[in-house]
């Protein structure tokens, strides 16, 4: 298999790696960088467990080639907590009980952050539509929507405070 060298920024850190051209971003994150917070659920873009943000856009990392990440910014669940503090959405997930087995949680968080960027004050209907690609088998989804709404309140509060 042909190899390619990429310069990519993952969670604000630069990685220069030579990788096979057919390696998916999911494989790159999990096996090359050992960032195992990003999960594989179906490897066909249906479950959303592997969702990461590429230049701010949510993507199923199982469907994207790592080679395409040259010059791009990737955000994974490991990059959400900053300065020893959880992201407000991570806090909200814990507080409202949006986490059960936790396997879909990393993908849910990244999709949730992408949707809050798009709709800072989402309705439940918008949340359902935007989050449809992320499957959860434990929670029944309602608390995940609750968490996104709570985080949206808090993020709005932070913006006002600044």
């Amino acid at each position: 298999m042909q190899n390619i060298t990429i310069h990519t920024i993952v969670n604000n850190e630069l990685y220069i790696r030579t990788i096979p051209v057919n390696m998916t971003l999911l494989q790159f994150l999990r096996e090359d960088l050992h960032l195992t917070g990003t999960k594989e659920g179906c490897d066909e873009g249906e479950c959303g467990a592997c969702t990461v943000l590429v230049d701010g856009h949510p993507m199923n990392s199982c469907l994207v080639l790592a080679a395409e990440m040259d010059g791009k910014h990737v955000l994974t669940v490991e990059g959400l907590a900053e300065d020893g503090r959880l992201h407000p959405l991570q806090e909200a997930f814990l507080e409202v009980g949006a986490v059960q087995c936790g396997y879909c949680t990393p993908g849910m968080l990244l999709s949730g952050i992408a949707m809050l960027n798009l709709y800072p004050h989402p309705t439940r209907e918008q949340i359902r539509k935007e989050m449809e690609g992320n499957i959860c088998r434990c929670t029944g989804y309602e608390r995940i929507a609750d968490a996104i709404l709570l985080a949206s309140e808090r993020l709005a509060g932070e913006t006002e405070a600044h």
């Binding site: 195992t36 917070g37 179906c42 991570q90 009980g97 059960q100």
Partner: protein, 791 residues
Amino acid sequence: MLEGRDWNRLVINRKETTGDEAVIGHTQIRKGGIAKVMGTAKFGADVDLPGQLYGAVLHSPHAHACILSIDTEQARALPGVRAVVIGSDFPTLYGSFIADQPVVAQEKVRYQGEPVAAVAADTEEIAHEAVRLIRVEYEPLPVINDLAESMKNEVLIHEDWSRYDCSSACFPIQGTNIGDQYHLKKGDPDIGFAEADEIVESEFTCGMLQHTTIETHTATAEANPITGDIHIWSPSQSPFSIRGLLAKTFHVPLEKVRLTVTEIGGGFGGKYEARCEPLAIALSLKANGRPVKLTYRRDEEFAATVCRSPVHMHIKTGVKKDGTITAQKVNIEWDAGAYVTTNPRVDYNAGFAANGPYKIPHAQVDGYVYMTNKTLGTAYRGFGVTEVATAHERQMDLIAEKLGMDPLELRLKNVLCNGDTGITGEIMHTMAVKECLQAAADNIGWKDLPLHWIDEEGNLCGKGIACFNKLTGTPSTTSVLVKMNENGSLYIMSASTEMGQGVTTTLPQIAAQALGMDLEKISMAPIDTAITPFDKTTTSSRSTFHSGNAVLEACDDIKTQLCRLAALKFKVDETDVKYTSDGYITCRSDESKKIHINDVGKSGILHEQAPVAALGKYGTSDIFDPPPVDGRQSKRPTVMWMHGAQAAIVAVNPKTGRVQVKKVGAAHDVGKAINPTGCLQQIEGSIIMGLGHALMEEMIYENGNLRNGNMVDYKVPTFMDADVEMKITLVEQAHPEGPYGVKGIGEPGLAPTAAAMVNAVCNACEANFTSIPIKPEHVLFRKEKAHAPQI
């Protein structure tokens, strides 16, 4: 905490409990949650060992065939391949009830997806490439795709049951495809039917479901071929039962098998079975003890792990004009797949639940596990109880319709209450089904709604209600170790695994409550069968009840030990020291001498003293009255019955056939809600899971070929399907033997969901749907035309 947010959809209806406790009864943030939101929690496939090889499996493309030859030469020659395993390498059979299943197929394959060979290689890519190079010659055999074919016994999937090592809890019938049977008989149904004014009969079929945990099955094994030491890392629901199974399978002493449990990305019964574990061990043994990681892809998860068996049920009920049930007979036929696995337990639990939580003087249940050439049925969140509830609750509605009674009224008339005689002749206690039915009905406004109506958009709307009862597996045993660290904090070591249900939060809550201690000071230790004390399984909604009792016993011992140490410090006799309910270790004769449990670490009483550690144990063998196989009558078949009810409102679009569940009212008797949000999580998640079962999910097999083994074609509920208003009541009818009155809630949330939704759809369409899932095409194009003229 944000309890206030929950109280909008939660009501607690206390019968024999108080809300006065400091720690239990209050929502607590899930232990281990921070690692899950940070992505640092280590699930099965996150395990990586130095020198690790990767496994891949060749699965049978045939549902039923003889293996004529296997050529692995090319695969072995591929650079990077370190081991290849075929059936003859491990001529051993396994199974928890009957040892009928090979690690890798021997001579014959019995379902599409059965492992035929496995490879370990330096990379996953090489392993899969090697699998493609294996050549197998098959001679196809006639395929048994369904119950009708299986019952003919013209083709036997297992020719000779007597060849297998069979436990005393499994009853195959020689010369047939029946892998197990169950028979319950109470009174004389013929007498009961003779007393009846009306006889109602119905049939119901539940489709084949996949657990569809988002984490697939995976295992990493390091197995030493010389010493026989086997170390497995896997997301196993029940590490000790899998340890026992693996030791038997590989003919090594039990203590040689060590299972380290990773985080579990969803279980629901699916991770009760050993799937990747035996294969990873076989590969590691063949690779001279190098560690091997095997992770199933989603297509393998569908084809080669486990499922919920399709089941066909027939119910006949005798009833008086006033609604009193005089007799009921239930016949259950499981389409159980190619190997028996845990089906006998499903058959058994469903058998006890099949008549519902009703007073029935004469009853009979006959359950049969039929083998078919399909993937393997097993436990699925309730061990068959959900399926039989769907049938007996449809039947109740049909009876109500025949008698012109309100469905709720009919149920309330027949429901089991304290002091009534249950299905095994047991005198029932701690029953609150009546309260659950009333609360569930109130939660959707039952009494103000007709059975069916048309909304302003022209949708056909209906309401439905259902209840259930379910026993927990008895007898069973558990033990926990509670050890105090040098700073006075505690570790609880328990093999009750966490798969999202919250047991690693409820057990610390119980300890914190018992000791008057801060919850933050109590942690759960990771689970490893070489270290953690024995627990039978994490199934059957038993963990908070059983392990909670063990924790309470250990905490009593901890108190005694601390009083002894405090007596030394206080320089008084041990009998002069008491432990108060708010956590003070106090000198009786001089109350100024006291230490709070939260301050034990800095009090100095632990310094250079025998460490404080306590074993807590709990078992139910003493209260168990074994139900004999002929009739299953018993004064105490289980330590704990669980029950609850749900009511649903649905809207059916008559043009598209699409069913929308608008509202679900639930009420479950949890005995005592240790972590109320935890209880709600179980019920809310179950409601949406049950919605999938009622309306969407179905594994489709044609001639033994799985037609939709992927997440595109096997539809599970998404965010868009979950627009359901929920109102939930937790009824607290304390269980006298449960810790603080606890009953289980892991499985019960799902038990009445599909039943309530089916009844609502039937009412909405004025039709009698006799199978699930009810998909749009079933609403629009059913053979028997719906009564509602709009469709």
